[in-house]
Subunit: 356 residues, 2 copies
DNA sequence: TTGAAAGCGCTAACAA
DNA sequence: TTGTTAGCGCTTTCAA
């Protein structure tokens, strides 16, 4: 199994090497390798053969410096730890895969300083676009975004003012819709379970919309329970156990995400509680996970993939200039489009835990 | 909410702008911004102030071209769709965060052509290292890896010959260990449930190790069921239902991952099957998910975070030259180290579904 | 401690 | 269709 380190070539190959090997000028080699300009079939073949034989890999650093073009799109998200961002990224990739653009991903861990630092790092590579989760940023981050030449799309939230473009759902509205749905089903003693993280602005806005709608119906959150760290089934169970032992008369539990909601659901069922008769439950995100649970957890789809796709589409147009910058952006399907904001409509999935 | 596009600065700032604003030569500005060389405190302050006031972001493309140094580490994994790769990436980030190196992530979707293309793209940025999932690559990919100047660490598999370094568990051994464990518990009628994907070499090797160990005990896989596409609870349920209706006398189900295993577990419990008495179950990966299920699914931890951490550590050393290239790599904890291969020991987590 | 000159590997713009 | 020239914005090297 052991393997000695190989002797490596000292220097990577340059255009000049291909030029010499093929007997074609550097410039023409460059043209062939980029499929640009008219090159005779014969020359092209000679060059391709030489490049292949040598194993030449073009140096994009030099290319980018010379052409002042970089096909990188910076994507900045909090983390990969729950399933939500992977799906956004996957939507972004799907669209960018059809273009010469390439996503480069960075993580903030919900920390503004880290966001700032990651953005700075990305901008120093002069990307063709920036896609960033959220609308809340530090002063410095905002200034960098505004000063950047690249188009900026802020995603997964539309409750605020974007730098350039925004795509996502309104979390206030999502919270409000869930409140209205559970009120309509007759639930009245409402518990909330969510993260303690003060920097998760989207979770905060959902809760705001939720409590506001409850308030308008003369209701309020009767008890709540917060957790720290990542979401997991086990945490959902524990929190639910604590909340219900403290407030056994609650008849609805609103979770800030599906993972802890699923844990709560499993707990309630094990306790023999009648779901959704005695107690209703709802999460958030529309994770695939809930499909396989003993009951389908009520949830609200955040249109993650769609958000990613649309953000990538905007960047593509702006960067590749397929549409004049101020022509606005197209808007179809379940979306509203005001100025440079695409608002997607969160979809309520009542499942089996909300309809009694 | 609408927002007109801002007027953007035409040209991004250069060192020269900072130089002019501060009245210090470009060279000295460059020194200040890189904390390199001796610069008087006064000059440094002047430069920093000018750079901050202008909002200067250094151009790493030019810097990289001039210095022939790039602090990017290419990380190539199949996807983000299950929780396994996010955790590896997270381990990599943890370690690289302590260094000037930055991960850049690419996805192959288990397709060799895509792997080839992503690698080519990455190498064209001349990264300081490459971390790549798996040991099986196309001829062209292997040649590129061998020709690359950057150190290469192949992760999550050690059953094969790496280009430079390998870190991970032996999936053959993991499969074998699980087989031995269930045989020891007295299970005899074994079913297997896994992905149809022929290019998931690690899943294939696990199954090989598993069947081989069964064979040595005079047993074999009595029936099996394959699925396509992503893993989900729902798929685990369906497959289990199909398998058990076809072969109701199976007394153990080995799943190729925890997600479908969890779905299978929920299904079995709903059918009123005695788990683990009448039927045992096991998955693979050691996902956090299983902690919150009605029973803890037996599984085998693939040391994902640890794999990422060690791979990143190797790259750091090689790239930053903290250790001479042929001094080998340190090896501690639950790891064996032969030559340039670090073998981590998969940990059996018997949970509640294997011990009867 | 600071500055001047040369050039990293490629491409834009032009000329042949 | 092909080649030549002059940079892209920075860092290296060497001189002051």
């Amino acid at each position: 199994m052991a393997q000695p380190p190989r002797n490596r070539r000292r220097r990577t190959l340059t255009l000049r090497d291909v030029s010499e090997a093929s007997g074609v000028s550097e410039m023409t080699v460059s043209r062939v390798l980029r499929n640009s300009g008219d090159v005779s079939e014969k020359t092209r073949a000679r060059v391709m053969e030489a490049a292949r034989a040598l194993g030449y890999v073009p140096n994009k650093i030099a290319g980018a410096l010379a052409s002042q073009r970089v096909n990188l799109v910076g994507v900045i998200v909090p983390s990969l730890s729950n399933m939500v961002f992977p799906e956004v990224i996957s939507g972004i990739s799907e669209v960018l895969d059809e273009t010469p653009l390439q996503p480069v991903i960075g993580f903030t861990e919900y920390r503004p300083e880290k966001e700032e630092q990651v953005l700075f790092e990305m901008l120093s590579w002069r990307p063709s676009g920036i896609i960033m989760a959220g609308l809340e940023h530090s002063e410095a981050t905002r200034r960098m975004l505004e000063a950047a030449e690249a188009p900026v799309v802020e995603i997964m939230d539309v409750d605020g003012v974007p730098v350039d473009f925004a795509v996502g759902i309104s979390h206030r509205r999502a919270g409000r819709m869930m409140a209205e749905a559970l009120i309509a089903e007759g639930y009245r003693r409402i518990g909330f379970l969510g993260t303690k993280m003060p920097l998760d602005h989207r979770a905060r806005k959902r809760l705001e919309g939720f409590t506001q709608a409850l308030g308008e119906a003369g209701l309020e959150v009767a008890d709540q329970e917060f957790y720290e760290g990542g979401s997991s089934l086990a945490k959902g169970r524990e929190m639910t156990a604590r909340l219900l032992s403290r407030s056994p008369d609650l008849d609805f539990l609103y979770y800030s995400n599906d993972m802890i909601g699923a844990g709560g659901l499993l707990y309630c069922l094990e306790q023999g509680l009648d779901v959704p008769g005695r107690i209703g439950l709802a999460g958030f995100n529309g994770l695939e996970l809930i499909e396989g649970l003993p009951r389908r957890l009520a949830t609200m789809d955040a249109c993650r993939r769609e958000t990613g796709r649309r953000a990538a589409a905007i960047i593509t147009r702006q960067a590749l200039g397929e549409v004049a910058p101020d022509m606005g952006i197209e808007c179809e399907g379940a979306a509203t489009c005001e100025g440079h904001v695409i608002t997607l409509e969160p979809r309520l999935q009542p499942g089996d835990t909300l309809q009694r």
